[in-house]
Symmetry: C2
Subunit: 347 residues, 2 copies
């Protein structure tokens, strides 16, 4: 089978312990024996068994990052930031795509415990994740939430300013004269959905508009854009169509825009669209969607930093919450000033 310390030891004429010391650059090994051991290692192509090491050291050097969708550019950048930061600190990163599925998430978290990851970064499926995360806690696996909080669970968290961001986006629409503004949200168990809804309502309230329940729909947000498309189609059936739509995230927005066009309408001519999170490559290729762009890489980086502090630091019980502001990027999809009764009156 695979080469072990013992074979190296035998070849070098020393004990297994000495080999271990050489490998780990640890203390006092005479240059002469060190050299013999190194030669033996090279000759046999010895690679230490990380599992065995982890067994004794109780450190696997692995962090797990759990996201609902690896193909979503937002999470892709969270991953990237996390991976980079973790690597620089000597940790590997295992990526799990929960597909926004509770059972799958449960399975992954169980795997993570089983495989003794040193820590976990997770964008939870939703509030239902609470029970699963408490199992992590019971097993002493430190974790940090990214992007989404979980109701009733106190823990470190890196998130965007969803309330403020949504308010800014929707205010952008109202400032253009829109008053009949719909929102496409997602499952209410997701904290960002709730927060963005609040920002949406705040912005409407700012201009004296009462949120109309008929203009609020939820999309099942999947990797495919279908969820957003379906929600949009539903809005298009209304007698009084909205003149603008605020979409809870980038993927749903892409679906919504497709649905609008398939319905024979135009963005922003017939319906203006704004959304949370930028769409990386699309933004460069043909800048179109007006968004609240979030520094996704930074989410990942900071989450790992908090996590590493939990792992290495003596547990300062204090819970840390980092909130990162986003940037409003105005592009074509939100259109220009429109003439509504209200806006005409004001001029």
């Amino acid at each position: 089978m695979r080469v072990t310390v013992h074979e190296v030891a035998k070849l070098a004429g020393v004990s297994a312990m000495t080999v271990s010391r050489v490998v780990n650059r640890a203390a006092y090994v005479s240059p002469a024996t060190r050299q013999r051991v190194e030669a033996a290692i090279a000759e046999l192509g010895y690679v230490p068994n990380g599992l065995a090491r982890a067994m004794t050291s109780r450190k696997t050097g692995a962090l797990s990052v759990v996201v609902p969708d690896v193909t979503n550019p937002f999470f892709t950048h969270v991953l990237h930031g996390a991976e980079k930061t973790a690597r620089q600190a000597g940790y590997r990163v295992t990526i799990c795509s929960s597909e926004a599925d509770e059972e799958l998430e449960r399975q992954y978290l169980s795997d993570i415990i089983s495989n003794q990851a040193d820590g976990v970064i997770i964008a939870p499926v939703g509030d239902s994740s609470r029970a699963r995360l408490q199992v992590l806690r019971r097993n002493n696996v430190p974790f940090v939430l990214v992007d989404r909080s979980v109701a009733g669970l106190e823990c470190d968290l890196v998130q965007g300013d969803s309330v403020g961001g949504a308010r800014t986006l929707v205010s952008h629409l109202t400032s253009l004269g829109h008053r009949r503004i719909a929102m496409i949200s997602e499952d209410e168990g997701v904290s960002t959905a709730r927060d963005r809804q609040r920002g949406y309502e705040d912005a409407l309230h700012d201009v004296g508009v009462q949120a109309d329940p008929k203009l609020f729909v939820r999309a099942t947000v999947t990797e495919d854009f279908e969820g957003g498309a379906r929600a949009m189609r539903q809005l298009l059936t209304l007698k009084e169509r909205p003149t603008a739509v605020f979409v809870v995230n980038n993927m749903a927005a892409v679906g919504a825009i497709r649905a609008i066009r398939e319905g024979g309408l135009e963005v922003p001519g017939d319906i203006a669209v704004v959304a949370f999170d930028d769409v990386a490559h699309a933004a460069v290729l043909s800048p179109f969607l007006t968004v609240m762009a979030q520094p996704a890489d930074m989410f990942g980086m900071l989450a790992v930093q908090l996590l590493l502090e939990r792992i290495t630091g003596r547990d300062e019980a204090r819970r840390r919450i980092v909130v990162l502001p986003g940037d409003l990027i105005v592009r074509a999809s939100s259109g220009t000033r429109v003439n509504t009764k209200e806006s005409r009156r004001r001029r």
Copy 2:
């Protein structure tokens, strides 16, 4: 510390061995004791230690997927396909982003051996990866290449039809009347770059055009689009500018288009652009780039299937190569028929 078999055993009043048998659903445990053990497991929140298990079973249940860039939508979908297929087969997937860096790749592969992954899927940095992959082989870690082959290395491989795909893309351009067609390629150590160059030259040859070395530039392809942009800027300095450009991949194409626009020119008006690999979300938001779309998810799925066969199957020494065709998707960036001297003459 973490709960172990022994604590469960003590609580249930049995031996550790019996606990193990219950956990593994193995042989002969009386219903009565089984029940007591299960109660103890639940009460203590026991989760088996995967490392210890792997130590004895010599199976970690982990596959590693190494890609040059996790934010590239092409690789993102390869990952997704791989992850899904692996999970269904009971394997976890660890993702490594080599950043197209040789040293980083070496480190990852070394980690992978060390952590006893059961197998590896890798889109290698380039031909230089050969040495590193041979280390894998020496350590009996089965692996399958995706997307790129490695010169001088015989092994299972899932790839696209780069020669044919490039030829189709470039022929699309020649059929529109273009004759002065540039290519933005990448490092020649990457098999797809070589293959696509061949397809490019073949297509030119088909219409009696000799490839002009001045029209061939290489981009350092990074996660950022800068590589493609720089290459494009270089082409724009030519006295006789190309009328069309074939770009080796999606990321570089995005950069190239940005550079063209920043240079005050238009796509496709001044320069037509075609590229390999679609840009997922952008394609829906504002269909623009003419591409050879590859079934990336399928790359990942098939690669895992081949890998699992290597892992579980008795090694049928035969090497397997799967070549998946792409789809030409014609959009705005390649433009319509142009009038060149040649095309005018022909009419």
